[in-house]
């Protein structure tokens, strides 16, 4: 470790290796965001409200461009509700109107009633811009890693610390 101080370039190069791993992962994520036009192109299912289609821990890929057709009834969409942080994955069950201003109603396949109770106070329907993407693909189960990480935040710290140590101590 001490010898690193005498060779500032080598030390800088080692720190860089670690920094580039983080920044490349981040920029890949942002690249995916740009391509799919969604602020969050990959989400993890947190509840069982869409069973049997999706289970807790499934990883969903989203697409947020209406290139060929508008978002329509039957699509599974992910939407954000004002003042709530957690995006919700449910199916569009009704649609009134066309284009940007169409009114959409959603419902979880496994829920007894539609989502009006989940919407913000006074909100009875969604519009297109509430939606951050339609589900176009999924990988079952792998999302459990992030569920673990978010439910036990100390795991994140440990992981980052271990990765950082390895990157800095190992010269390869």
């Amino acid at each position: 470790m001490l010898s690193m101080l005498q060779k500032p370039r080598q030390a800088a190069a080692q720190v860089l290796n670690f920094a580039l791993i983080l920044s490349s992962a981040f920029m890949m994520w942002k690249g995916l965001s740009v391509i799919s036009d969604s602020p969050s192109p990959i989400v993890v299912v947190l509840s069982g409200s869409m069973e049997p289609a999706f289970q807790r821990g499934d990883l969903l890929f989203l697409w947020n461009r209406n290139l060929l057709q508008d978002t329509s009834v039957g699509e599974v969409v992910v939407y954000n509700v004002k003042d709530k942080d957690i995006p919700i994955v449910h199916r569009v069950v009704r649609k009134y109107g066309e284009g940007e201003d169409a009114k959409l109603l959603t419902k979880g396949d496994n829920n007894p009633s539609d989502d009006t109770e989940l919407y913000a106070r006074g909100q009875d329907y969604l519009v297109r811009k509430d939606i951050i993407g339609s589900v176009v693909g999924y990988i079952p189960f792998v999302g459990y890693v992030t569920i673990l990480l978010s439910e036990h935040p100390w795991l994140k710290t440990v992981m980052l610390g271990v990765m950082g140590l390895f990157a800095i101590l190992q010269r390869e």
């Binding site: 190069a13 580039l20 965001s33």
Partner: protein, 220 residues
């Protein structure tokens, strides 16, 4: 300098030898240049700063307001990382020392090791100062010949290896050039024992002309 190396760790051996090359050449008046690693650091850190800026404005202003800038940043980041990859693969190629010899010629040394094979391999390129022609060649030496069994680096055989094989180094440090005859003896144990059996001190003196410790080394 007296750093103990784990002899089973190939990267450690390589790194110690890499460092020793720089120390040795700088000590015999080579002028080390850092331009290659500097370019790499510049490319790497500018792309990292770009990513950090992108993260910052995304965090402060949100996705929708910064969509366009994020798209541009992603494009530039891709170009920068591509340039960095090309630079390390095609230009640096594992270069661990670049510098100017006292004679004015440029010297580039790249090092590598192969998995499960404790041999230090060097790619040397010498650019003549007057003609500009590049002479490139490869040399190699087992690590066991310049690390002792407790894991300490032994400079002398290593420096002899460099001075004997790389002309510009030999020119700058001629006392480290291993006499051709001595090298021959070292590489052919039978010949060596034949010479030793002959037991003539004078002959040993004659072959190892300017090397005082020549006799000692042969026993090793």
């Amino acid at each position: 300098m007296a750093e103990k190396i784990t002899l089973y760790n190939l990267p450690d051996l390589k790194n110690a030898a890499d460092d020793a090359i720089a120390n040795y050449l700088n000590s015999i008046k080579f002028k080390q240049s850092h331009s290659m690693i500097d370019v790499r650091l510049a490319l790497g850190y500018s792309s990292f700063i770009l990513a950090a800026a992108c993260a910052l404005w995304d965090y402060k202003l949100g996705w929708d307001a910064t969509k366009l800038y994020t798209a541009i940043a992603v494009a530039i980041y891709t170009v920068l990382s591509g340039a960095l990859t090309v630079w390390t693969w095609k230009v640096e190629q594992g270069t661990i020392y670049q510098g100017k010899a006292p004679s004015g010629d440029d010297l580039f040394i790249a090092s590598e090791t192969k998995k499960m094979e404790p041999v230090y391999r060097l790619k040397i390129a010498i650019q003549d100062k007057s003609t500009g022609k590049i002479k490139a060649f490869k040399i190699s030496k087992p690590f066991a010949e310049f690390f002792n069994e407790s894991g300490f680096f032994v400079p002398k055989p290593f420096q002899e290896f460099l001075a004997t094989n790389i002309s510009v180094v030999g020119k700058a440090d001629s006392k480290r050039i291993q006499a051709a005859s001595e090298k021959l003896l070292n590489e052919n144990p039978e010949l060596l024992s034949a010479v030793l059996n002959a037991g003539s001190e004078k002959e040993a003196e004659a072959t190892g002309t300017e090397k005082k410790a020549g006799g000692k080394r042969r026993k090793a």
